[in-house]
Amino acid sequence: MDGDTKRDVLRVENVAKRFGAVTALSDVNLRLGAGEVLGLIGDNGAGKSTLMKIICGFHRPDAGRILVDGEPVELKSVDHARSLGIDTVYQDLALVNELSVYHNMFLNREPVFLGRFLDNRKMRRLAREHLADMGVRIPSVDVQVAQLSGGQRQAIAVARSVYSQSRILLLDEPLAAMGAKEGALILDLVRDLKARGEVSILIIAHNYAQVLEVCDRVNLLQHGTITFDKETAKTSVQELTDLVVAEYRAARQGSAGPAGQ
């Protein structure tokens, strides 16, 4: 890996994680440059979710370390990671259907007056401004999130993370279960964020073609370790597909023999 540690906002070094007898991650090395969009792809069970949950402070690694801005950090909780600027947009978006858009935008970070009363007027105004600023279009910040489309919900979850001053954004399968139009909306949002250069983004995804559209670099996670790291311009959907298929073939041959867990 190339040096210049200073410009990497996030580094994962030799991270391993086991759950009982199952080794989820064996030895992961990954870096995310300032303002970079990195795609992390891999098949089901490759360890994508585990790696993401380690970076966002949900799991602690059994071995290895994580560096933020070149400083080693021990992430104690999701809140702790968030205070360092690492935020996650989960697949389920962590939105509450029953609440309005503006309440969701500020969930658990609500501005208050007199210590505990919600400052709804301020939330409404800031949410409206911020969503307009990010080019997210919804009927009104007053509507319940349940009334929005999948793409709009995703956009709100992303906008929320960006708003909360996060510098490292983890997007977990942002295009899963989303139509072509909705997916395009999200990719546009990622492009906008990249153009602003305020956040570095790690996208965890299945869909290679769409990921390649917005990522600067692609990493492939296989069997708990990063097996491939290339700039997007220097790779192709074909190459990535071949790698995964080759892995599948090898695994099938392997399981024909006595090995196989």
Binding site: V78, D92, E98, L99, L107, E110, F117, D142, V143
Partner: protein, 349 residues
């Protein structure tokens, strides 16, 4: 919300001629109605009141109004806690017997342990809080479903009340049978005042504070709430403690009102079921994530009106349960239907 509808209406008005303006206004009114579910319960309460007032001259007399609010307040107060719990996705079946226990604890503290009046009352309330803490701990930390947890505490506390009291009523201790008793339920206005104060406080808690917002979030999307960093266990345990404390308080004001400490207060399960029924009639979903305190209080009022009014016009108490059952079923069906209407996006755009 109001300004949004106004804007929607004015936008429509500028674009389209007069005829559709009335339609837009009508649609706005319908949207407001659907959004404020309490409105329908309020209408039911008013219609019932008007009906009983016309059917019986006694209904609107001062003495009878006192009866109605004295019947409303305990279930409305307990319903506040039940609504918070239901919104956060839990339930408490033990609140009714906590209400029976707390006046006994006050009585034991004063008469057996010579504890002064006010500390004894505080002790009785704190015992309620502690039971809520235990309910919450078993549910959240030991992961027993709250229905089962509180079924267990319900029987356990019933046992405690019946064993320690030998199933005999007790007298109100002398040291509280004075101004304290009047303030805490013996006075005609006490139930109304406490009911209103507590309902307003918890309405504000649910709709205007972080605690209320997080309660909705925890019930609406438990995983998402914890991913947002909300400590969901803390919210749930807190709501169990609030519900149980309110149960203890309702038990105290009832004991002072009837001027005796009854081991079968509210028939054991009566107060709890009335409060759950009030919450449900008021539009609170058992699945969590939505519900209103005002709705629960109005639900309690509707139930009190029904029982009182039917008594006045000479219908036996038995059909009351027919109507109660029908009211719960109808309001829940309406609830599900309205939720689907909203989800379908036909309201509020």
């Amino acid at each position: 919300m109001r300004d949004m509808t106004e804007r929607a209406v004015s936008q429509t008005a500028t674009r389209e001629p007069q005829g559709s303006r009335a339609r837009a206004l009508l649609k706005g009114a319908r949207d407001q109605f659907l959004r404020h579910r309490e409105a329908s319960v309020l209408i039911v309460a008013l219609v019932l009141g008007a009906y009983f007032a016309s059917a019986s001259d006694a209904f609107l007399t001062h003495a009878n109004l006192v009866n109605i609010w004295q019947a409303t307040a305990p279930s409305a107060i307990v319903a506040c806690g039940i609504v918070l719990l239901l919104v956060s996705g839990e339930i408490d079946l033990s609140v009714g017997v906590v209400a029976a226990l707390s006046p006994f604890l006050m009585h034991y503290a004063i008469d057996f342990y010579s504890i002064p009046a006010i500390p004894a009352i505080v002790l009785a309330l704190l015992a309620g809080t502690l039971i809520g803490l235990i309910n919450g701990f078993v549910t959240v930390v030991l992961k027993v479903p709250s229905f089962v947890t509180t079924l267990g505490t319900f029987y356990f506390i019933t046992g405690v009340v019946l064993t320690t009291s030998h199933a005999y009523p007790a007298e109100i201790p002398a040291s509280v049978d004075n101004a304290i008793g009047t303030w805490l339920g013996a006075g005609d206005w006490a139930h109304l005042a406490w009911g209103l104060i507590i309902v307003v406080i918890f309405h504000v808690v649910l709709t205007r504070t972080r605690w209320g917002l997080h309660t909705i979030a925890v019930g609406g999307n438990p995983l998402g709430a914890s991913e947002s960093g909300i400590r969901t266990g803390r919210i749930k345990i807190g709501n169990f403690m609030i519900a149980s404390t309110l149960g203890a308080f309702a038990g105290l004001i009832e004991a002072f009102r009837i001027h005796t400490i009854d081991p079968n207060l509210g028939g054991g399960t009566g107060l709890m079921f009335t409060a759950v029924a009030a919450a449900v009639i008021g539009g609170t979903a058992l699945a969590g994530g939505s519900g209103t305190i005002i709705g629960g209080a109005l639900g309690a009022l509707v139930l009190a009106e029904l029982q009182n009014g039917m008594n006045l016009i000479g219908i036996s108490a038995n059909p009351y349960f027919l109507i109660l059952g029908a009211a719960i079923l109808l309001s829940m069906i309406a609830n599900v239907y309205l939720t689907r209407l909203r989800r379908g996006g036909r309201v509020g755009r």
